[in-house]
């Protein structure tokens, strides 16, 4: 859609032109103009969760908490893996927060178009609003479960030092990586529904090949380069480091790689999404 403002009879009139293959020059401006809708959708999704489920918001807390208990017993007590002197439950939870941020972001975004099929084929607004709604909702969920981590740090008397200022960077990286890959798979999902099955499966594997239930410091040095090819390894490593920089070492290769990978996936995700956007209603 192209917006041209022409002056006729002294009155400013907006003239819209619809034509094949026209890509809005003011793509981002249009999106910005509809920001109110984005916040409406976000609010709607959050309100609905509170309304529909009895436990409502606490669901965001219960899921990571129970997973943490299981992982702590499994990896900490049974396998007796090293935690560098840190409480094992804390180690697991500090890995799970960024992991769930990423994985929820990816799976929700990848379903955002197919799940809104009815609206997609009946009303027009910038299509990016669908995945962006999931982006905001998932971030809100993240901050709710983040309070559990704060509670845990108080309980274990872990005092953060100045390195905590880098924490938002790693939160953002996990979110961006999830969004970027989510945009890509959302686009693919429109045509090939296979991704609805593939994504949950990959994420299930991902939680084990990422340092969620254990410290990445346990991975032998010679395997590190390969291990950190998974961008979530670097992100979780950095996230934990921000919380307890004294106890854990930073893996620079992993973090640089994850930063590059996340930005690249966002760039590619947006590009592919934008390019296919006009076909969504016809192919979905």
């Amino acid at each position: 859609m192209d917006l041209k403002v022409s002056i006729k009879h002294g009155v400013a009139e907006k003239m819209q032109i619809i034509e094949a293959g026209i890509q809005a020059k003011d793509y981002w401006k249009h999106l910005w103009a509809r920001r109110e809708l984005l916040f409406f959708f976000t609010k709607r999704d959050i309100v609905i969760r509170y309304k529909q489920t009895i436990i409502g918001a606490s669901w965001v807390l219960i899921r990571p908490f129970l997973t943490m208990v299981v992982f702590t017993v499994l990896f900490g007590s049974l396998a007796n893996l090293s935690s560098n002197g840190l409480p094992y439950g804390f180690v697991v939870f500090a890995g799970m927060l960024p992991w769930y941020l990423f994985s929820t972001m990816l799976s929700d975004c990848s379903n955002s178009l197919v799940g809104n099929r009815g609206m997609l084929t009946k009303v027009y607004f910038p299509r990016l609003i669908f995945p962006l709604t999931n982006f905001l909702v998932t971030l809100v969920d993240f901050f709710v479960s983040f309070t559990l981590l704060i509670g845990m740090m108080i309980w274990y008397q872990i005092v953060p030092s100045w390195e905590i200022i880098f924490l938002p960077f790693f939160i953002l990286l996990a979110a961006i990586l999830g969004l970027g890959l989510g945009l890509l798979t959302a686009t693919l999902n429109v045509k090939y529904r296979d991704f609805q099955q593939i994504i949950p499966f990959l994420l299930q594997l991902g939680i084990y090949i990422s340092p969620v239930g254990y410290l990445n410091q346990l991975v032998p040095k010679r395997w590190e380069i390969i291990y950190f090819l998974n961008p979530m390894a670097g992100i979780i490593n950095g996230f934990r480091w921000c919380l307890v920089p004294g106890a854990l070492a930073l893996n620079w290769w992993g973090i640089l790689y994850a930063t590059f990978f996340s930005l690249a996936s966002l760039y590619v995700g947006i590009k592919i999404f934008k390019r296919s956007e006009s076909q969504f209603a016809d192919t979905i």
Binding site: M1, K8, E13, K14, M15, Q16, I17, I18, E19, A20, G21, I22, R34, E36, L37, F40, F41, R44, V47, I48, K51, Q52, G118, M119, L120, T121, K122, V123, Y124, F125, K191, Y192, R193, D194, S278, Q279, A281, D282, T283
Partner: protein
């Protein structure tokens, strides 16, 4: 008089697939790929032939051109599959034309299907705001118009009840009330009157008259010729994707539609 919408040589092509795995799976790609790389010989050829996919072009719209003047009331007629919905979807930006150009003067507000964007768990009140936002209305404007919307829909009593408990008639009334009270410059309505009762239909027609009376343009698709006869001052008739008539003589348009 200036135009509200000018449609120039619009065509829309769809590809229909026959046979094979056309349901949209990766297997489709894999099969196509195999077909390209593997030598076609013996039993393999036979095997692949059974899943042969062919594509057929289907022109939902063929070279449509017409103009709607500002403030006029256009009725779109045509049998199922004539291309009415495709035309409206193109006008609403939902899908792109394959070729041709459309010029639109003014903000388009559309009601293509009742309750699109209504969330069943939310109350009527919440849905009014949500739906308004979907249609591109500012929150302040919705607030200002809220009483008018509720009043028109005649469901004051249930405005704080979740929409899932509404009857379909109640949902239409609320949806129409939102779209019609947005002060649209161009209002596109697809089969909305099919659900409401006679009284409400009359009320809708009155409201649409009020809207077009204030200078807005209304595009109206309806199978019932009565509503078009009552309301429209211009009509187009579509048949198999082509425009066969564009006239201000509603009676002749209805005749041509009924003769199909």
């Amino acid at each position: 008089m200036t135009y509200a919408i000018k449609v120039e040589n619009i065509s829309k092509k769809y590809l229909i697939t026959h046979g094979g795995y056309s349901s949209g799976s990766l297997k489709e790609i894999a099969d196509n790929f195999l077909r390209k790389v593997l030598p076609f010989s013996g039993s393999r050829k036979k095997l692949l032939d059974t899943t042969q996919i062919s594509y057929e072009e289907f022109w939902a719209l063929k070279d449509i051109s017409f103009e709607i003047a500002k403030g006029s009331k256009l009725g779109v007629m045509g049998r199922n599959g004539a291309g009415k919905s495709t035309l409206l979807k193109i006008l609403c930006h939902i899908t792109e034309p394959t070729s041709g150009i459309i010029k639109i003067n003014g903000h388009v507000s559309s009601l293509l299907e009742v309750g699109t964007g209504f969330h069943p768990e939310l109350t009527g009140r919440e849905n009014v705001f949500l739906n308004g936002a979907i249609l591109g209305m500012k929150q302040l404007d919705i607030k200002r118009k809220f009483d008018e919307i509720v009043d028109f829909s005649e469901i004051e009593q249930f405005i704080d009840t979740p929409v899932k408990k509404y009857s379909s008639g109640m949902q239409v009334r609320l949806a129409f009330a939102v779209a019609a009270n947005l002060e649209p410059e161009i209002l596109i309505l697809d089969e909305v009157l099919a659900v409401g009762d006679v009284n409400f239909q009359k009320k809708c027609i009155d409201k649409m008259n009020e809207i077009s009376g204030s200078g807005a343009t209304v595009i109206f698709v309806n199978h019932g010729v009565d509503a078009i006869k009552q309301y429209c001052d211009q009509a187009i008739v579509l048949k198999h994707g082509s425009l066969i008539l564009n006239t201000t003589d509603i009676d002749s348009a209805i005749e041509s539609y009924l003769q199909q």
